[in-house]
Amino acid sequence: MLKHDVLIIGAGLAGMRAAVAAKDLGADVALVSKVHPVRSHSNAAQGGINAALGHRGDKWEDHAYDTIKGSDYIADQDAVEIMAKEAGSEVISMEHMGVIFNRDDQGKLGTRAFGGQRKARTFFVADFTGQALLHVLYEQIVKSDVLVYEEWFVLSLIVQDGECSGAVMIDMKSGKIEVCIAKTVILATGGLGRVFEPSTNALICTGDGMALAYRAGVPMMDMEMVQYHPTTLKNNGALMSESARGEGAYLRNIDGERFMAKEGNAPKMMELASRDVVSRSEQKEINEGRGVDGCVLLDCTHLGEKLINEKLPQIRDLAKDFANVDMAKEPVPVRPGMHYQMGGIKTDVNGLTTLPNLYAAGECACVSVHGGNRLGANSLLDTLVFGRRAGEHAAEVSKNRSNPKISSTDVLKKHEEDIEKLLSNNDKNGFVFGSIRKEMGTLMNQYLAVFRDETGMQTALEKLSELKLKYKNIIVPDKGRVFNTALIFTLELGFMLDCAETIAISALERKESRGAHARTDMPDRDDKNWLKHVLVYKENDDAYRVDYLPVVITQWKPEERKY
């Protein structure tokens, strides 16, 4: 049996930031990750991280306002205030740790413009900001000697007497299952992109942490808010960072027209309007026949080769590799693609969930700072600010809690039997993970994408329960124990089906259009009835319950959203 004060599940930016913070307070901390920390998906963040630095003439209030307007007014304003206020010190402390942020002429940190914001306040490292941050945080983990269970996969949370007391996990290298007792547990497992097909997310983004919490009775909040990013490649869903538009790229339709200028789109902020707005404008162009082969065009040709090489080198390679286009010379065909989950495990501003001693931070959590639509470069900030806060709070709480008493043999036995049962299913009529995953991904992308309606969402929910039925007869063809990835994918698929269901349920629930949730059958925002969060609870095996929570409003009254 393993034992720690603070067990952090997930070693992306949120998890590692939490680990550094908890370790600084003297806690016995351990990280678990199903991939080596530097393989985590935070790597993929290209564009940057937002912060309004007061001594540079920017105001945290402005950043907060842009975030809240971006969220279509269902972000909790107390949480947004905290994020905007603490952004500066978080970014600067990452610089102190060693991040090589781009500089201005005076050698100070430089900024670039990003969507939905009236000021350039995005700090960046070329177009691989996420990688630069992730590797530096890993350096800090090495420096402070935090124990990492590398390539261990968490199967479930241990809940006893209404408290979270650890997790059960499997060492992928040996296939051995272990119980880890912990005074506090932090979920930092990232997003659920693979629930959709295609998605900009990595193959490991399977919503595990959300499903783990959901199964432990913790509510999922605002799950209907799924962000479709305006510029993804048709071929494999890879992302062309918003920094392209931040650096001045245009979006054009087949006639070469900058369609963002149209009334009803975003004549003022044009390409740099909020993502939900840009994605809808693009989808309209495509649906109304002004697209190019199911796409619109991202035009960078006027930016010049030097700027592209210095500030957008990675996406130039991506466009070359996957779309066969040199973006310095030709426009790149792009379309809206699933990118980010605004909703997630409901937490307070210290990352604490409704289950005592269980925390969540990063993309798997919903604090909520993104509401109906996340601004570009606010997610990295979210991972760091709330990762740190969760780490600090958990470390403090652990000081006052004695080691939970768990009968680990029983817990272990149950999990071993479950896995054994899964591996021993040889039913000829059984299903394997690949086919179910594909079906789920395709239907989610069809019915819960940029535009939605009642019939579509209902169809999705019905099809999902059919898939869940199929999943009950799943077979794992690889019967080995060592590095059995087929087993892992099968378990992940179980997590994804739970997540998919909560998305469909919440989406059906919200009877209006707000942020990323755009219903063709109910196109208007309805503040009177829907200025609130939607929560989904798991009751038992196949039943769920829906609840609501008012939005916290501090100083910004909801107004019409125009860009």
Binding site: V35, H36, V38, R39, H41, N43, A44, L53, S89, I92, E95, H96, G98, I100, F101, N102, R103, D104, D105, G107, K108, L109, G110, V125, A126, F128, Q131, A132, H135, V136, E139, Q140, V142, K143, A202, L203, N235, N236, A238, L239, E310, Q314, D317, L318, D321, F322, V432, F433, G434, R437, K438, P477, D478, G480, R481, V482, F483, N484, T485, A486
Partner: protein, 323 residues
């Protein structure tokens, strides 16, 4: 288009045929990557095929493997690059120089322990005040981003020819990481770092085969960074290592005689009284005798030495100018 994958398999739990090859033929489209095909095999043909991959966009560093004999990322390598007379045949093997766990998955523990051994974090004894950043030029940061672009995929380590014969060599990835801190204007433990790197198995053990430069999928140029580390070490006065002496004697010989005095090189590098080291060279000398490749004992000056000295002057001048 049809693509043939011949994949090296290894299942540690099976008691028969420990290592084998399986062949799969899959239908892929023109733009497909090697990884697309492997995923298709894994999902639709053979669920037991085991490999690491995640981002599909050359950023997470999971999918380095040997494809037709050379280490590369499966996710940014197109199958069509290997087309020959209308056929595409791929030989897919795990990366080299690392113990195999299963199929294409190797054990990265030795890799990471070497990276950890270079103290891979910024050491700045006078950090700026709260809410103030280090002042640094954008050029210096851009220069570092060339090394920070390293995704730790292990392609360089896989194909490093020194590691093939000497497992203790720090290797290109760890040394490039060390360079990242040595050349960071904010880091103030350069001397300490260089001293650690000049130990045996460190920067002087690279043989400059260029293999790492060739296979690096991110243009990190590990060997170039190692050479830079050597320059820094010599400039910083770490001249008392075999590597530094070797460089000095080498340069001296070419500068003064126009070509390399191979006979003197080991004598002067190790020192004439270093009997132990010199005895260790005997087998090489014997080999050379057998294959009639012993360098001349009496080394003469080339008549054209003056033109070579002009090159040296030019280079020296450029260095002074740059400084």
């Amino acid at each position: 288009m049809k693509v043939e994958y011949k994949v090296k398999r290894y299942n540690p739990e099976s008691d028969v045929a420990l290592e084998s090859f399986d062949t799969y033929v899959v239908e892929l489209d023109q733009a497909a990557t090697v990884l697309d095909g492997l995923i298709k095999i894994r999902e639709e043909v053979d669920n037991t095929l085991t490999l690491r991959c995640s981002c599909r966009s050359a950023i997470c560093g999971s999918c380095a493997m040997r494809i037709n004999g050379q280490a590369m990322l499966a996710c940014n390598t197109k199958v069509s690059d290997f087309e020959e007379n209308g056929n595409i045949k791929l030989l897919v093997e795990p990366p080299g120089n690392m113990p195999v766990i299963k199929d294409l998955v190797v054990d990265f523990v030795p890799f990471w322990s070497k990276v950890k051994s270079v103290d891979p974090w910024l050491k700045s004894s006078h950090p700026p005040k709260y809410m103030e950043e280090h002042i640094a030029s954008n050029e210096s940061m851009l220069h570092l981003s060339g090394v920070m672009g390293c995704i730790m995929c292990g392609a360089c380590v896989s194909d490093c020819t020194v590691l093939e014969v000497d497992k203790s060599f720090l290797g290109p990835a760890a040394l490039a990481k060390a360079y990242r801190f040595v050349s960071d204007p904010r880091d103030d433990s350069t001397k300490f770092r260089l001293k650690a790197l000049e130990k045996p198995s460190g920067m002087w053990d690279c043989t400059r085969c260029m293999q790492c430069v060739e296979v690096c999928p991110k243009g990190v140029d590990p060997m170039g960074r190692i050479m830079k580390l050597r320059d820094f070490a010599i400039q910083d006065g770490y001249k008392n290592t075999y590597g530094a002496k070797h460089t000095a004697v080498f340069t001296d010989s070419v500068k003064n005689t126009g070509w390399l005095n191979e006979f003197q090189l080991p004598l002067r590098t190790f020192g004439i009284f270093n009997v132990f080291k010199l005895l260790g060279l005997l087998p090489i000398l014997l080999d050379a005798l057998v294959s009639r490749k012993v360098p001349p004992v009496f080394h003469h000056k080339l008549p054209s030495v003056s033109s070579i000295q002009r090159i040296f002057k030019k280079v020296d001048l450029q260095i002074t100018k740059r400084e």
